[in-house]
């Protein structure tokens, strides 16, 4: 079971009020633009793969196909079978293009 809270900006304090013990999912680059939001707060514990499927928009498929990438607590990961637990920060982003 999951419970959602959608936030237009990362760390929006009004949006996050009372959102304790929830997984934070941040979006960056064209992914945030396509979704129309920067962040979700989700009551969730379980495998990363299933969390990505919950997010919709073919995110899990795009991660598997290496079109987008994912990090947990600011570390990039490839293994989608790792568990995500409350208070984790999951980030979904395209390939880097800075400089």
């Amino acid at each position: 079971m999951s419970r959602w809270r959608r936030c237009p900006e990362h760390g929006n304090r009004d949006c996050l009020a009372g959102a304790v013990d929830m997984v934070t999912v941040r979006y960056y680059g064209w992914i945030a633009e396509r979704l129309g939001r920067r962040q979700d707060e989700i009551k969730y514990t379980g495998p990363l793969r299933d969390l990505l499927k919950l997010l919709g928009e073919d995110i899990e498929l795009n991660v598997r196909e290496r079109k987008v990438f994912v990090a947990i607590n600011h570390n990039s990961i490839k293994d989608l079978d790792v568990d995500v637990s409350e208070d984790d920060v999951v980030a979904i982003f395209p390939a880097f293009s800075g400089g």
């Binding site: 960056y28 490839k78 390939a95 880097f96």
Partner: protein, 149 residues
């Protein structure tokens, strides 16, 4: 004193150069790279750029690059500053300053640092064109596959 900074404000290159230059009397070479927004991209006129970034990952990566550069090239110190948010044509968006005893390692280090920042820092560039179109810039090659465990 060298540093790493991700800045939403304009970068003052001369202040940073002076600060690094005054940090050690061992410095014999100071090499600087300044990445600037150009007017034309892929044949189209650019109006402005926007840089999105993931603060924790970008900062971690750039700190790691600075430390590795100092160790790998035997540098005295280094400063790396990346601009984020909106930037206009001619704005300085990436500043790399390297201080060493001799020029050879400084030149090599600057090129290595710029390449690594482009590959490793969690920053995304969006180009707005004067004709009203825009695009998120895709790297020619993603290095994330090689780096991720």
């Amino acid at each position: 004193m060298g540093k790493v900074h991700i800045s939403e404000s304009p970068i003052n290159a001369w202040d940073e150069i002076t600060s690094l230059l005054q940090s050690s009397r061992r410095i014999g070479a100071l090499v600087t790279f300044m990445g600037v927004i150009r007017e034309i991209s892929e044949g189209k006129e650019v109006e402005k750029l926007f840089y999105d970034h993931y603060p924790e990952m970008a900062s971690n990566a750039i700190n790691r690059i600075r430390e590795e550069a100092i160790s790998r090239f035997g540098l005295i110190d280094a400063t790396i500053i990346h601009r984020v948010g909106e930037a206009e044509i001619g704005d300085l968006v990436l500043l790399v300053i390297v201080a060493s005893e001799h020029r050879s390692e400084a030149f090599k280090a600057v090129e290595w640092i710029v390449d690594e920042v482009k590959k490793e820092a969690a920053i995304w560039k969006k180009e707005y064109f004067k004709d009203g179109e825009y695009r998120w810039v895709e790297p020619e090659r993603s290095y994330l596959d090689e780096k991720i465990e």
